[in-house]
Symmetry: C2
Subunit: 335 residues, 2 copies
């Protein structure tokens, strides 16, 4: 382990984690350790990573500090792409990382830009983790990634792109005019590969994104590219607040219910990026982020229009959140 | 109001606020409005400010938003040096500042560097205010100021400097070796006068300080300057945690009891700067602050040693917290 940087990654088989592994492998020159729940080390997804040169190492975040520290042996850069319900498991992880001498921890950001303080449930949980890291004096980089291309377009009336819908988003938030910073999910790992070896990003918040598009612009683009006419319905602030108000007391009674969390969080996202306009580079800079446009102006990416045209409408896109999709379609029908 | 910047200041007659007024008046070129509780506008302290060219304007932070907005008319830069028990009144103030078109809000920081997240009661209250400001997209500057010269030295056995003791600090925290960033209280306003007109500090955390001294160095310095021999007793982490553990349940029952808050907060400070070593420029930078040394390398100040020699020991120093001192001496005796 001396010549290459050793990157430990949690959540390597999730949507974001997969992009990160791909980006790190593509960049080369890194030793990658997938830190994996003991019960998952033999699963096909882990085996597939091993075949690609990734070390699979068990880690149990509910074990003792000594055990977690031992699991981090040799890890120089620790990247977390842990699931939304497991965010607080990063607290013992960060403490162990400090003891283990990890040089930099990238906790699970991987969100659009959202301020802390009551706007977004998941963001506020992450804030607890970020604050804990800072009390440790542990070097960090917090990376937020905008809104994925893969979940940023509405269905077509013909149903021909239903195969590619991630989180269905059939309505426009607010008046549809807020620019929203979009990133191709597949580029996230390519950005991470740059960030983890970039000293300029130590102890910084980094906002990576490809392009800005408002919901109205996206609907216009979809009509132009598909030749279909889209019905435009709008979610008002009150609509979205009502969904949150419906979910909140139910979550209080049933805090591990993932679909309730999705209900609240999806409405909070629509308020944040769609109405408040938080997920924009100027606001990110206001909050103290440095952006990928400043750090990596040479970064090449497929445009959102090309993605829609050559992949989604051409029938070649890969969907995301396959397991979730049916449940979310059902949830949207209820509202 | 066009040619000069209009600065509105809350808490203009407190220790920090007095320094800020003095600094702003000394700098010149600013219109200063002391935003004052309606019940205090006729008090001698307010009248004295009026005589120095400061507009005294009533503001009631418990009034309606419309009334608070009206009180902020014409204010371009809003500076808060509000008391420790009134921090959350800055929430409606910030909301009104956004509506009123205030160009920049400097909420009440004015602490040493302490991370948010359970280290320090007062810091965590301030975090709620900071988060609220950010959800408003309101331009801000958060200024922390280190530990004051005026409360950074121990008593002498002879009692000859008791007249000048602010918060008595007779013991050394931890092993006494953590450097602590010190600032002359009187310089805080001179730093503010630079910051409020400096575009580089918009949407930034700024850490101002003069010099670094560890408690051991300060005891050594006091012995050298006074010729007296100091007894060195140390507060361990456990001692300090016990004081906090004693205060916390009492505060829960009696949340407006100022002396209980002082008990908890003073122990939390000693842990933070004295044992953890938070109040240092490198840690400030890690948290995202820009420091006064970077911004204003030409800033002239009296050294801490000169302050001790020519003022404190020479019998010419002005104490701080006059009303509090006796109560705190009493509190320290209990532990």
């Amino acid at each position: 382990m001396g010549s290459t940087t050793v990157v430990g990654l949690l959540g390597a088989t999730g949507e974001t984690g997969t992009s990160i592994v791909n980006g790190l492998l593509e960049a080369g020159g890194l030793t990658i350790i997938a830190l994996t729940r003991p019960s998952s080390v033999s699963k096909p997804a882990a085996v597939a990573l091993k075949d690609r040169g990734v070390e699979i190492r068990p880690i149990d975040l509910k074990a003792s500090q000594d055990d977690i520290v031992a699991s981090l042996e040799g890890v120089e850069v620790l990247v977390s792409a842990i699931g939304p319900m497991e965010q607080l498991e990063q607290i013992p992880l960060a403490t162990a990382a400090k003891t283990a001498g990890v040089k930099r921890f990238l906790p699970c950001g991987a969100m659009p830009v959202v301020p802390a303080g009551g706007i977004h449930m998941l963001r506020d949980v992450k804030e607890i983790v970020y604050n804990h890291i800072k009390t440790l004096h542990l070097p960090y980089t917090i990376v937020d990634v905008g809104w994925w291309y893969q979940i940023a377009f509405p269905p077509l009336p013909s149903g021909k792109i239903d195969y590619a819908l991630g989180l269905p988003n059939p309505r426009l938030p607010g008046n549809g005019s807020q620019p929203n910073a979009l990133t191709d999910l597949r580029d996230i790992g390519r950005y991470f590969a740059k960030i983890v070896v970039d000293d300029r990003t130590i102890n910084k918040y980094v906002f990576v994104y490809n392009e800005l598009h408002s919901p109205t612009q996206i609907f216009d683009l979809m009509e132009k590219l598909s030749g279909e006419k889209l019905d435009r319905q709008y979610d008002t602030l009150e609509d979205l607040q009502a969904r949150i108000a419906d979910a909140r007391p139910k979550i209080a009674k049933d805090p591990t219910n993932f679909m309730l969390m999705v209900q609240q969080v999806s409405a909070e996202y629509l308020i944040s990026w769609g109405i408040r306009g938080d997920n924009q580079p100027e606001y990110a800079k206001y909050l103290g982020y440095v952006t990928s446009k400043e750090l990596y102006p040479e970064f090449k990416f497929k445009s959102f229009e090309a993605y829609l045209r050559d992949e989604v409408i051409a029938g070649k896109a890969k969907g995301v959140y396959d397991e979730l999709r049916a449940k979310i379609v059902e949830m949207h029908k209820k509202h």
